[in-house]
């Protein structure tokens, strides 16, 4: 397999884990705009332990996951009392504080970043991503997942019906933070270098967009969103120049065309976001859509176990 392909697969796997981390909190109706902060915690924990103490990869990943989960829990307890705008701001502020603290700390290399000695091949993140995907699907199929869905759809009614709203939200948020930390640890070991400038507000925005555009009603959403938006820039890398050459050739002078700016890809992501919010705000993949697909198959259960809209 070529280095380019394996690189894309690795980043795809990391993005999927990251997206599931954010999904777990969004699936309880809590927008988490601090993804980069949790990923940075995991990445720096793994990088530091690997570089300073030479811990094996397995242990550094585990530490990153746990540490990030603890951070998530500490943040979730006071902050999940608040909702809407306050929560968005609080998670955003958390990511900024983490980035600022890392940037100023001598121990973690400051603006220089850390080189990570432990290198993992591309299939490690892929296998872990597959495992995480199955895990999230399992969580969403348990009673706990049902509680999460109920809170997502209507918090007040779930509370009235006896769902322990606060507990479910805190646990979901902390698990999500742990997954984001795991994705950070994998990032550190796959690319063998971390620098805090990579974990910025834009990264938090992107991962939240993956999840919301993919759809938050089912666990398929983040998978679809992360896959689509990771592969889209790669597809556009070839498509954009040829499109530009074609457009310019309509007016004659197709020779010496400068390649289009990288920023066009983000413009396209922005346009897609705005259009999705206008035409399909509930995301790409929804519960009715899955139910529809399932009904067409012979032998599918029309009623019964599956709860439709």
């Amino acid at each position: 397999m070529s280095g380019y392909m394996s690189g894309i697969l690795a980043i795809l796997a990391i993005n999927i884990i990251f997206a599931y981390g954010i999904y777990l909190s969004v699936a309880t109706g809590q927008l988490n705009l601090g993804g980069a902060g949790f990923q940075a915690v995991g990445a720096y924990a793994a990088a530091y332990l690997s570089a300073t103490y030479g811990f094996p990869v397995f242990l550094t990943l585990l530490t990153g996951l746990l540490l990030s989960g603890v951070f998530g829990f500490a943040i979730a307890l006071p902050i999940l009392r608040t909702r809407g705008v306050y929560l968005v701001l609080a998670t955003f502020a958390f990511a900024e504080v983490i980035a600022g603290a890392l940037l100023n700390s001598e121990t973690f290399g400051g603006a220089m970043g850390i080189s990570v000695p432990g290198y993992v091949e591309w299939y490690v993140p892929v296998i872990i991503a597959a495992f995480v995907t199955l895990l999230v699907f399992y969580i969403m199929s348990t009673r706990f997942g049902l509680n999460m869905r109920a809170i997502h759809d209507d918090e007040e009614v779930s509370d009235l019906m006896g769902v322990p709203v606060r507990k479910v939200k805190v646990i979901a948020f902390s698990m999500g933070a742990a997954l984001a930390g795991l994705s950070g640890g994998l990032y550190a070991h796959t690319f063998t270098f971390v620098e805090v400038q990579g974990f910025n507000a834009i990264l938090s925005i992107y991962v939240l967009l993956y999840v919301l555009l993919g759809g938050t009603q089912t666990a398929w959403g983040p998978l679809a969103g992360a896959t689509f938006f990771t592969l889209l820039p790669e597809a556009l890398r070839d498509l954009l120049p040829s499109t530009k050459t074609f457009l310019v050739s309509l007016f004659g002078d197709a020779e010496n065309v400068a390649p289009p700016d990288e920023s066009w890809r983000f413009v396209i992501l922005g346009v897609l976001t705005v259009l999705m919010m206008v035409f399909r705000p509930e995301g790409l993949i929804t519960r009715p859509m899955l139910a529809h697909l399932r009904l067409r198959k012979p032998g599918a259960r029309a009623a019964g176990g599956e709860v439709l809209e």
């Binding site: 969004v26 109706g29 927008l31 006071p78 902050i79 009392r81 608040t82 909702r83 809407g84 705008v85 306050y86 968005v88 701001l89 609080a90 955003f92 502020a93 958390f94 900024e96 504080v97 980035a99 600022g100 603290a101 940037l103 100023n104 809170i151 997502h152 759809d153 209507d154 918090e155 507000a201 925005i205 939240l208 967009l209 919301l212 938050t216 009603q217 700016d261 920023s263 066009w264 983000f266 413009v267 992501l269 922005g270 346009v271 897609l272 976001t273 705005v274 919010m277 206008v278 705000p281 509930e282 809209e309």
Partner: protein, 305 residues
Amino acid sequence: MLLVQQLVNSIMLGSVYVTVAVAFTLTIGILNFLNFTIPTLFMLAGMMGWALSYYGLPFGLSGPMPWPLALAVGVVLAILASLLVERFTFRYLKTRYGDSTEHAIPLVSSLGFLLILENLVRIGYGTEERRFVGPDADLTLNVGGLFIRVPQLISLFVTVLIVIFLTMLIRRTRIGRGLRAIAENPDAANILGVDTKRVVPVVFMLTGLLCGLAGALFAVNYGEVSPLMGEDIGTKAIAGMVIGGLGSIWGAVIGGLIVGVLELMTVHFFGADTVQVVVWGALLLTLIAYPSGLLGHNAIGKGKL
């Protein structure tokens, strides 16, 4: 003396944050909408003001403009962009599912607009910092050993005027009464005869105007613009707004000034690198310990729109 000079400077810097923070708090207080395009509108006014005075209109339609005209056009562009955002974030948005994330839809749309506008400016004019050539005279007053730049004094004055104007608009006029009604309950306001389709764009026009003016004044005062200039100012304005209390205009004024003072005092005592930690730490602590801020109301920003 140096400390007093720093205090004067921080009030001048704070007045930029105040203008942007008022824009944020206006959309949150009235529409319960955290508008992430605000930093971009700020940047758009400054960058377009620079581009028009340096290059002139695109495609060679005109030569370089004089800088006051260029800045005025920049402000108008910010207002137009803000109205465009209104079209796509509020006008057509009706959720079909009662998700508890539905209040997030305008927010997510505004994140999309942030990506679009910022990257279009980057494509057009590059990512480097540019020097904005404003008034050539050295306009610095020396008041008893303190140095005060006249453009900064003017912008402080403009900021105060804007805030007073907004307070009057919201308290005294018919439009203001409509805005207050929408803030309380959009559906009831609609039923009772507030024309939401005409009143909501007013909020966005005011947002565009505030950010445009702040961006133009920033370009004149500090003489530097870049496509990234909005991020730093925007995030600090958010911090100021939260500290002052969401949805309160005077809270945003106080919070913006506090952040300005906090920032320059941190620079003075600890160095420039720790500013981010101090400002955002203050924000996080405010949210955890006292979520409604100094002057905010508890009810705003919590319910669904």
